[in-house]
Symmetry: C2
Subunit: 242 residues, 2 copies
DNA sequence: CGTCCCGTTGACACATCTCAATCTCAGTGG
DNA sequence: CCACTGAGATTGAGATGTGTCAACGGGACG
């Protein structure tokens, strides 16, 4: 365990750190400080954070780990709305609906911090700089996943990988990383079958754009991947330039 | 022309009406009041509001009419990111990127109001109720179009039609309306070809769920359409229940 | 009244899905 | 330490929904 909230590298980047009840305070007192703007909680793999129609009360800052939000279709298929990584905030959608419009589940061991929405509003109002910053981050949410509009499987997966490289580690882009989610999860997010994800991975590897070994992935040529994402390249029928 | 800003029915619902320079003030003085929080502007069909990489300065409130935002793919295809109708606010995405990440074009005669972002921030800070309301509306944006994750053409189009019924007229749902956009535009938004849109319209009409005559559309059975959207019904192979 | 754009419909091509078999790897217990 | 097990990943073959290309038809508008 970390000795204090701010000793966690992600916390250093967190907007709410100044208003946060430290982990050690929680651990030592054995109870959560009721006045805390932010509270610490641990989720194991596959543990549920919230369910559809749960009443909206908190936003959640992810300190470490990964979550997915999803809804289940009538036919039983799971449609992933978004992944959330360390440093990101989950729950903005619920401000409008009044309840969480999805299930949120940890896909790896995850640490989250609760931000009661009432406190969130108070803080925003008292700190203009924080308000600007939060609008900036919500605006970012509106831009995330805009590549889902792309048509081909290759385009979407390539764009997804590039985005992962920028989102997986806060304030830093790394082109070699561990995929936190399964092929099935990626498919449920990109609206492709797990088999298609697997096949496209194989194609991209054959073209030397990536190296992939189970969860370990290395984006060898991010620039070329970007071209694939933009539809400038395709390897569907041998490596042909359009 | 209207005699004042608040005489326009949409203005009555607008959050910024209290801080707005009235139309008649603008018309009578012949120049736009520089201190105005909100300014009036008219766009003809196909007139451009902003282009990709234009510097972000204003949010735009739509007073009347319809706009689309889109980006052009490498292969020349136009991908529509969102439609905007009367009472909605365009431009949140640009807060993050610092420039508009899309083209915005009127698809019918449209009246818009400019909200300089600096003024927007000041207003939000001085009016906590306005701040809450704006967060509420941005949250709504995060939920709009969530049905784009659906797999089949029928599901996406049915969900689109239902959403249109609720968004087309502020604070009121109407199941008979005029489609403001072309089949091509709908296809560019739902990631389907114009031909597919046409075919699905025909199928839905054959099943008595809608009446469609060029731009005029009537959602005869919104509840059944909702079931189609949710994947509970399909008419792909004759009208079969799954 | 003619032109042109938009929408409709048909035939065929193709990307992705579905179903299925096989394989690897991690975890578990003997 | 090894065998067993189950979940996830890979790969193949056939099915299918949607895209593409094309022809046709009908309003809207000048």
């Amino acid at each position: 365990m970390h000795s204090s909230a701010t000793s966690n590298p992600t916390c250093n980047l967190c907007l709410f750190a100044p208003f946060c009840t430290s982990e050690e305070e929680i651990l030592h007192t054995g109870r959560q400080a009721s006045l805390a703007v932010k509270q610490y909680r641990k989720l194991n793999r596959n543990e549920v954070l919230c369910l559809p129609n749960n009443k909206f009360q908190n936003l959640y800052a992810i300190q470490k780990g990964t979550l997915k939000t999803y809804q289940v279709e009538a036919d039983g298929r799971e449609l992933i709305r978004e992944f959330y990584f360390a440093g990101e905030i989950l729950g903005y959608e619920a401000i409008y609906t009044g309840h969480y419009p999805f299930s949120a589940v940890a896909i790896s061991e995850t640490l989250i911090c609760e931000i009661p929405y009432a406190n969130f509003l108070k803080l925003l109002h008292s700190k203009p700089a924080l308000q600007r910053r939060i609008l900036y981050l919500i605006s970012r949410q509106l831009n995330i996943g805009s590549y889902l509009v792309s048509t081909t499987a290759e385009q979407r997966l390539a764009a997804f990988l590039i985005e992962l490289a920028t989102r997986l580690h806060p304030a830093e882009t790394r082109y070699a990383f561990l995929l936190p989610m399964s092929r099935q999860d990626i498919g449920n997010y990109l609206r492709l079958s797990a088999e298609t994800i697997s096949r496209v991975f194989s194609r991209l590897q054959k073209n030397k754009m990536i190296l992939i070994d189970h969860k370990k992935i290395n984006l060898l040529q991010p620039d070329k991947l970007k071209q694939v994402a933009d539809g400038l390249w395709t390897s569907n029928k041998g490596n042909t330039v359009k």
